[in-house]
Symmetry: C2
């Protein structure tokens, strides 16, 4: 059984991030002397050796980081995670081994086995949409960082988008454009995006002194068809602006508004989420939205694995979702 | 200087595909005895050794195939090529080393150098849209297959979509739906897609006994905006159906038709090209289109490198673009 940073973290009673900082010996990391001592003691007791060192000392040559991704073939999101992870890995002398699983468990196990065989420094395990996962068992055998997903009880370090901040930002943009009666078309799928974006919507309203009104929150399938179907109810609610769970829903709302001869943004302002380029930038009018930070998720995943970011003492890294203003508000 | 299959092919006066079949010793390949002899003579004279053998004999362990791709982060197309290449590589005991360049030449050179250092069996060099390229110089040092692109004079083996067949299929679908006056919105960008799809459009008309009419062929930027702008002229042409250069153009045509209160397909049938899922499947009505075969391009690239397909004596492999019927005809 391989010993990983996670085992060391458990034995020392600290986060994996803290272990990573100690074993990678980052000069800038502010780790308390006590924590450092406990980590080093656990490293010695358990016999932990980062693969990078093992590889460099015994063989020389390139060092690998593995990236297991689903849905490379069906969304550009996985590609953006790869792009960010590759840039960051190369910057630090690592080659990224990428495996695309399209959600197939057998392929996933093969991919992880292949990466372990290549003595990867660690594995980034990523999903194309933000969700809780059951971490595949073989990932216990190497240093693992979850990207765009997380394990129950934060059992593994995870880098995820800040859904609540994103929902707050989206709503704030509508408020800044002068809207007070703002509908929110949420998804019907239970997910961190569902709860986080709603929480952000509520917190932005509250900060602006606008009373939260349950009748302005709708549930729709998170696709064009869902947005189209819910448009009638959104109009009937008397809202002057609508924050859509994602850009595909916004695309359906566009269709629903147009079918009724309503103009965007004059008759209804529309805010999206995701910044899915092929949609958001090219709707008529171009869609104002909030970006999911996939590139940064991949880059931050590598930095977390290598202990390059300041230690926050937690193993859940939240990455901000920036506003992308266009012409629909 | 490394000797590659291309050098052997030149010396023996045969295609790279033929060399690949001989050196990979495929039992099913029908290679003439004379060609086989010349290939083996050139292999001996030049001292060609496939890296796979070198690696297996001297070190054991995994064998790599490299895939250099642009635009992983910005389109799902590159992801589908990766998916197909990975499946096919794994099937034959190879691990795919993927590098994303986003079109950056320095990154590209680094990626190729990294792959050569890892003694890849060969490199697939792929682009996200079909075009002629200047092949990066370092690719001379290994067996290279171009995927979704090609070199002048077919100096390297290339696997590309059959644009002409795709254009013919798209037009045939409109004819089969009863249309005789069919507009074609082509792209303004010179490309194999521009010439191939037009040739296919013309050949389908001719086969159906419909006279080609230059005034039914339009040029537009190959994006939503271009499709929207050209819609007025398409309507004025008196066409009852329109074949759009790609799905994004079709999306713009949808907007242009809707703005004028015209129904799809009753007032105008619309045919796309690409099968870009996030658009094509979710427009209202869902868009009938022709798929670019990215998965198959990746898979066929690996098979070409490894000499697994029957030898056709040519180094340009055309992959068919299948019809994807939905509801816009």
């Amino acid at each position: 059984m391989s010993i990983t940073m996670r085992d060391v973290a458990r034995a020392a009673g600290v986060s994996v991030a803290t272990v990573s900082h100690v074993v990678n010996d980052k000069p800038g990391a502010r780790i308390g002397e006590d924590a450092r001592r406990r980590v080093l003691a656990a490293v010695a007791e358990l016999g932990y050796r980062p693969n990078a060192l093992a590889k460099t000392l015994s063989q020389g040559g390139s060092r690998f980081i593995g990236l297991v991704a689903d849905a490379i073939a069906t969304t550009p999101f996985a590609g953006q995670i790869i792009h960010g992870a590759q840039d960051e890995a190369w910057r630090h002398g690592y080659v990224l081994l990428v495996a695309n699983t399209e959600g197939n468990a057998a392929v996933e196990n093969d991919a992880i086995a292949m990466m372990l065989e290549h003595q990867v420094r660690g594995i980034l395990y990523s999903t194309w949409y933000h969700r809780e996962i059951d971490v595949p068992t073989p990932l216990q055998h190497t240093d693992t960082v979850l990207v765009n997903c997380f394990a129950a009880d934060d059992a593994y370090p995870a880098v995820v988008p800040d859904e609540e901040q994103g929902g707050r930002t989206a709503t704030e943009e509508l408020i800044a454009a002068g809207h007070r009666r703002i509908a929110f078309v949420n998804t019907t799928s239970p997910s961190p995006a569902q709860t986080g974006r709603l929480a952000g919507y509520r917190s932005a309203l509250e900060a602006a002194g606008i009373r939260y009104d349950d009748s302005l929150v709708f549930a729709a399938d998170s696709a064009q068809e869902g947005g189209f179907a819910v448009t009638k109810a959104v109009i009937a609610s008397g809202a002057s602006g609508v924050f859509c769970h994602n850009d595909r829903v916004a695309m359906g709302v566009y269709d629903g508004l147009r079918e009724r001869g309503l103009r965007i943004p004059e008759d209804m302002a529309v805010m999206g989420f995701d910044n899915q380029d092929v949609i958001a930038a090219h709707l008529r009018p171009p869609l104002s939205t909030v970006a999911l930070p996939h590139y940064e998720l991949g880059a931050a995943g590598v930095r977390t694995l290598l202990g390059l970011d300041p230690d926050t003492g937690t193993d859940r890294v939240l990455v901000a979702c920036p506003s992308i203003p266009r012409a629909s508000l």
